[in-house]
Assembly symmetry: C2
Homo-oligomer: 551 residues x 2
Amino acid sequence: MERDTSELFEEFKELTASEFFRRNKQMLGFSGKIRSLTIVFHELITNSLDACEEAGILPDITIELKRLGKDHYLLKHADNGPGIPEDYITKVYCQMFAGSKFRNIQSRGQQGLGCSGCVLLSQMTTGQPVTIRSRYKDGDQIKGVEMKVKLDVKKNTGIILDRKEFETERTGSGIEIEFKDVSYSMSEQGAYEYIRRTVIGNPHARIVFKDPTGRKYTFERATDKIPPLPQEVLPHPKGVTADDIIYLCKSTNKKRFKNLLMDSLSRVSLKKIKEIEEATGIDMNKRPKSITWKEAEMVVEQFDKIKFMAPPTNGLKPIGSDQIEKGINEILLPEFSTALTRKPQAYRGGVSFIVEVGLAYGGKSGRKVGNSRKAEIMRFANRVPLTFDQGSCAITEALKSIDWRRYGIGELDNAPISVFVNIISTNVPYLSTGKQSVAPEEEIVREIRQATMKIARKLEKYLRAKKAAKNEEMRAKIFEDMVPVVIKQCALLAEKEIPDYEKVMDEVTHKAKIMDMKNRLQQPEIEAKEVIVEEPKMRVKEEILEDEQLQ
Amino acid sequence: MERDTSELFEEFKELTASEFFRRNKQMLGFSGKIRSLTIVFHELITNSLDACEEAGILPDITIELKRLGKDHYLLKHADNGPGIPEDYITKVYCQMFAGSKFRNIQSRGQQGLGCSGCVLLSQMTTGQPVTIRSRYKDGDQIKGVEMKVKLDVKKNTGIILDRKEFETERTGSGIEIEFKDVSYSMSEQGAYEYIRRTVIGNPHARIVFKDPTGRKYTFERATDKIPPLPQEVLPHPKGVTADDIIYLCKSTNKKRFKNLLMDSLSRVSLKKIKEIEEATGIDMNKRPKSITWKEAEMVVEQFDKIKFMAPPTNGLKPIGSDQIEKGINEILLPEFSTALTRKPQAYRGGVSFIVEVGLAYGGKSGRKVGNSRKAEIMRFANRVPLTFDQGSCAITEALKSIDWRRYGIGELDNAPISVFVNIISTNVPYLSTGKQSVAPEEEIVREIRQATMKIARKLEKYLRAKKAAKNEEMRAKIFEDMVPVVIKQCALLAEKEIPDYEKVMDEVTHKAKIMDMKNRLQQPEIEAKEVIVEEPKMRVKEEILEDEQLQ
């Protein structure tokens, strides 16, 4: 039975972004009770850290999670960031695909989906509005405004239900938001572990978290240094497509094509413009709007041929290998640790990125599974912990491609190690709107692989040295056992008195030690660094608050 | 240095869905040259199969891929579906989040992103418009219209550059679309393998594919049965949230709440309405628009308490275990194969789904890696092959959770088996807009696991029987070797003449065979089915077209 075409199109619909994600909330990462709550923490913390960083403020975040009933929670989240101007509040919290992060800047968020996603989930599960409190600078004044808002799914905009002003002396923003069908957990994928990892990746942040059982955790900052302001990095010509040029031409108010190119791209000088003009014959003084696809393609072809300086990387701010090692040592108390921050590289031709890796062996490294410890992979992108969807991630792919046996630790899965990987970029190529895994771009995978192999070699040297030391000890022991016998026999042979064992032994072992020292000094390539574990300076303070216990 | 709040919001932007995906094309699955082209095939084939199925037409798809230059291709794709009415052409091909599949119906597409995603990619890489040809029924007539269209990214709409009508006698739609930066490959993730798997999952489809080297592959249909029309399935009350009810109330033109519930949900009768009215005290004759969140929550609470018939499943059309086995046998020529279509189940309370599994052992089962064969997992959702992002998929998770050693095949990875899993549902919970993996919803993972264990048990029995047969053969051989000796010794003991070995042997082995038969008949539980591999009836015809060779 064939059906009429028009009949088939009766149900044709056009959705707003909010309607689309309402139907597909798992694409925002909201699937499963534990995961959904972790994603909410992720979006709000990420937003606070970004806001503070952009404004040059040391982040101070307070989070309180109250249990209101079974799978029903109230979350209060506040930061000391710059706040949000009143006109933008509904755009930030109630509009999908709206945000200030669509630039070439290193930031944790980059999609304009996070906060509105949380509001959508709250509304879908509780029907309640959300309370936003913003304290922001307006000229010389600091204004305070509190709003109750809802998200109009059909229009992808916000509805203000209530609004009042209040007086305040500091900036910051806060949200009170209710959820049902979510659940708090201490598991690896739960909200607590998310905060713990955030602190590893962001040693400059201070987070106070009151959990639903009344426990209050204070994660103190490990450094008081304000991280450098991230800077916008213009796209590099080698990473630009003809479509990008056409898009720039359509959006600009520049009058001349050459000015557009020089102002919108990095490393394009007047000299380069002349080179392009000569090679293509395109009049570089043309109005950008008149540039054709063909011409854009010719320009891109020249970009490919001409030599440019490498993409600027001053916009990229890595954590730094010292800080990573500090974080790892403090939390994992490992026997051996090392970290490495690599030089910037570029993927897709012109998007620069930096890979940072860390490795910890022994101590609390790895995940505890039953009685043994298995490998733990801690993935980060722009310092944000990635908790889910590890299977398809560039980081997982790179680590799995390494032949770990060459580094003396057999199968990766069963090694008692923690591997830390952080990718820094102005444009992390996430695989999905849930931002939990990084697309396996060839250059990124290769760079992670090489960085990890480099530090794995250090681990291997450490393990080899450790084994050698053990062997030497064993040999020494055998020697010690033999000495009295040899001495006795020698004395008998020489028909002398048997000397005092202890004295001879002391002499012999002293000489052996000196020889050992000399040997070691002659092998400078073995420079495995052993971590001296002092009493751990715990950054985490845990208290149980009596009056709020088990509410 | 603190920055002013307003300064931070200078760059605040609102994007259209097209602009968003232009910046994040990897979220549509477009990352990497091979993968990008496979995704294009996926979107176009999927769309054709859906269109034909909805119209009750046996699909006949022709695809031609021409190489125009390095990483530069022209794709011509056409089907015999119902076509697209002129008014909808730009909506289907040039608007994100627009489509006819936002219903509770089993269809391959469900997001309204596929076709417009392909047009976006074409435009981003070539700047060229796309040619659409639609032949559709308009009343008694069949109209033919050809359009050249572009996608206006900033507005998320289409622009018609050229339009002409043509005469035609049949329905169908076709597209001519150019791509750069993509690449055709015969690898497992390439376009050819995608078509091959599509044919396994859709034995009713005929696909003719001309590849860039001039080879023409004809995949004939294995069955002429028109698959049953998929039907819209109303949501089941057990899977409905308060938010869903509020959404229904806002969108309806029904005058009474009870009529809205009975017409929009399955299994809600007047009797159930009365039960709800009595339990909640809500006037079920109220206008839907006046229903509050509290009331909606009360109704959902009652939905949870009241017993309803299971969700209707007549809208779900599985492939069927016979067809799956046929497909597997034809392509893998296995030593053993089995398949199973399970009964419908529901996830998230009320979304019904069916799991189908198949298993092949030996022959061409598994993937060839070097000289050995490793396990191959073929994932399908609503008959569509899932090629990428297997790591996070419910299917992978379920299969990995099985202890395969219990089924006599050691580690899954190293077994020479192919596992086929298909999930049928009106709403497959994809993890991302790229639709390459299914969210690991608890009920789905459990169902795949159980279905697979059930067929794995059959494989185990087959392997056990095979081993037993081998042992028996060995025992028989030893026996055969011993017989002459025994006969000789017996004859010597009895002081008789040594009889003719051959004759005695014949008698003995005849008796043994009869005993064996009897034994087998007494063990009916071992019913492992051995596939008799005749000459393979190849559905794939391969020709090399002379005049178009290696163009």
